[in-house]
């Protein structure tokens, strides 16, 4: 029989240290739903999603019960809707509402894929979709949107960067009465991945099978608790401890993923080796960094600590899963992490430091509340900076900032639930990057892209 200590360790991880499977995400291709009549296309989309994902939530709950491991979210990602609009036409918002209907019918809590991939330029459907994002996000509750504006292979599409600055502002403005929630469901990517199970940036890439199951694991609390037991360990020893813990967390993800795929009769895609925080105490990535020896997340030393943590999580997790993918790394969403929220409130964590941190972890400037008066070109410049880090380092980076319309420094936005709450962070608004952003065009792909 299994060792009683091992059994207790697992139970303790679940009951005391918030270990959970963050999400089971079903990726569904909608490429076969195109139709010359947009309404028919929407109907096909609704039918396909509800047919394939009808049992997703139920299966997730069954596994949760049988294995005794909480599965927090059950989600769906679909083919970027801009591709469907390219051939089927029609109002993009109608597609967003169709996705919402499908989300309601299947009971999932988010559906991602109201997306466009424009890293080199706009093709049919892309610009229409992007311009409709603010309205789509305002008129739906569970639909998530993402736009890929750059990649290591293609460079950065600065026309799209400029446009996205405006779109982010607009999305905040039309949901200003709801804590600007539109922006919490909108991610701007560089090097977006096709098999990401995490929201708001999940979409089902064109290279993926027709339907697939991805799993995202979580467990910052478990890592923190493991480190806590070794207050005098060297960093090399800490890395070992983190690796061992990450291995165990990931094994659980692998088990749940294969089980879900078997029960749903859908191929298993990947496990995303991530440390995904929640606003709950004991579920924070910032607190891991503090446990490693920093007085507060955001001070000098944070980037180095995060780099080690991120690397150890991947090294430990990679052997535990047969297929690793998605974003894989430690997430640092400010409003979704109790430690980050505290560090942002105290002023120890700045936007500049967060930007540096994104160079060594997954994914980017995430869930950051910025002043309501931040102009579109500054948001575009924030996106461009972040995309440049991703492009040059061949990694995924993203921007999910929320301009707090009508609010000033010192105030906060409260999204509720897993999205959490966050204080408005300082943005340099004294001098503007207007001319740089107005130049538009494309930043050529870097030397790193020439690998052949």
């Amino acid at each position: 029989m299994i060792n009683i200590h091992d059994i207790m360790e697992t139970i303790n991880m679940i009951s005391e240290e918030n270990l959970d499977i963050r999400t089971i995400t079903m990726g569904i291709s909608l490429l076969d739903c195109c139709d010359s009549d947009p309404e028919k296309a929407c109907e096909k989309i609704y039918n396909k999603i509800t047919r394939l994902a009808g049992n997703l939530v139920k299966t997730g709950e069954d596994i949760e019960k049988e294995f005794g491991i909480p599965i927090i979210n059950k989600r769906i990602s679909v083919t970027p809707i801009s591709m469907i609009i390219a051939s089927s036409g029609g109002d993009p918002v109608m597609y967003a509402k169709t996705l919402q209907r499908a989300a309601d019918a299947t009971g999932v809590n988010f559906i991602g894929g109201f997306s466009a991939l424009v890293h080199k330029g706009f093709s049919a459907g892309d610009e229409e979709l992007i311009r409709a994002i603010p309205r789509a996000l305002a008129e739906t509750t569970n639909v998530c949107s993402s736009v890929n504006i750059g990649s290591t292979k293609a460079g950065i599409n600065m026309d799209a960067v400029k446009l996205m600055g405006q779109i982010v502002r607009e999305a905040a403005e039309i949901t200003a009465d709801r804590e600007c929630i539109g922006c919490a469901k909108l991610v701007v990517f560089c090097n977006a991945v096709e098999d990401n199970p995490f929201m708001a940036g999940a979409f089902h890439g064109v290279g993926e099978p027709d339907c697939v199951i991805h799993v995202g694991v979580s467990g910052p609390g478990v890592v923190q608790a493991a480190i806590k037991k070794y207050p005098n360990a060297t960093l090399g020893e800490l890395a070992e401890i983190i690796k061992r813990t990450a291995f165990k967390i990931t094994r659980m993800g692998q088990l749940v993923g294969t089980e879900a795929s078997k029960r749903l009769g859908v191929p298993f895609g990947i496990v995303d080796l991530s440390l995904a925080p929640t606003p709950a105490v004991g579920d924070s990535v910032a607190h891991i960094l503090e446990e490693m020896g920093l007085d507060s997340c955001g001070i000098h030393g944070t980037t180095a600590a995060l780099a080690m943590l991120n690397d150890a999580v991947k090294k430990g997790g990679v052997m535990a899963s047969s297929y690793v993918g998605g974003l894989s790394g430690a997430f640092i969403p400010v409003s979704e992490d109790a430690g980050m929220i505290a560090a942002a409130r105290s002023g120890d964590l700045s936007l500049q430091k967060l930007e540096a941190m994104t160079a060594v972890c997954s994914v980017g400037l995430d869930m950051i509340v910025i002043p309501g008066e931040t102009p579109a070109e500054v948001i575009s410049a924030i996106i461009a900076d972040e995309a440049a880090i991703g492009m040059v380092n061949s990694k995924t980076t993203a921007v999910r900032v929320i301009p707090a319309i009508g609010k000033q420094k010192g105030e906060e936005l409260d999204f509720g639930g897993l999205l959490g709450s966050g204080p408005i962070m300082d943005v340099n608004l004294n001098k503007l990057p207007t001319k740089f952003i107005d130049r538009a065009g494309r930043i050529p792909a870097p030397l790193q892209s020439l690998k052949n």
């Binding site: 029989m1 299994i2 139970i11 019960k65 049988e66 294995f67 094994r251 692998q254 088990l255």
Partner: protein, 89 residues
């Protein structure tokens, strides 16, 4: 399918009997029992075979949970694979 029934709480007379009774009521075959005191807590782990259950897994699990609640114990029923996959390569 084999499940691990874990019981955690304060030691008291008759815990094993009560848990075994539920197993027997539901026709779950007990394959192995270990118990120990860890950090002042009574811990009992039972490996059970539940392929011949006379109720659904969910009912079995709920019954155990209720029993735990009524006796101030934390009782969980979990598929053994979760432990195998986490602790064995």
């Amino acid at each position: 399918m084999k499940t691990v029934v874990s019981v955690i709480g304060k030691d008291a007379v008759g815990i094993t009997a009560k848990v075994s009774t539920v197993c027997s009521e539901c026709n779950a075959n007990i394959l192995d029992i270990t118990q120990s005191v860890l950090q002042d807590m009574f811990v009992m782990v039972m490996l059970t075979e539940i392929k011949d259950l006379n109720c659904t897994f969910s009912e079995f699990s709920d019954k155990m949970k209720e029993l735990g609640k009524a006796n101030g114990l934390d009782i969980r029923v979990m598929h053994e694979d979760i432990f195998n996959s986490m602790h064995r390569i």
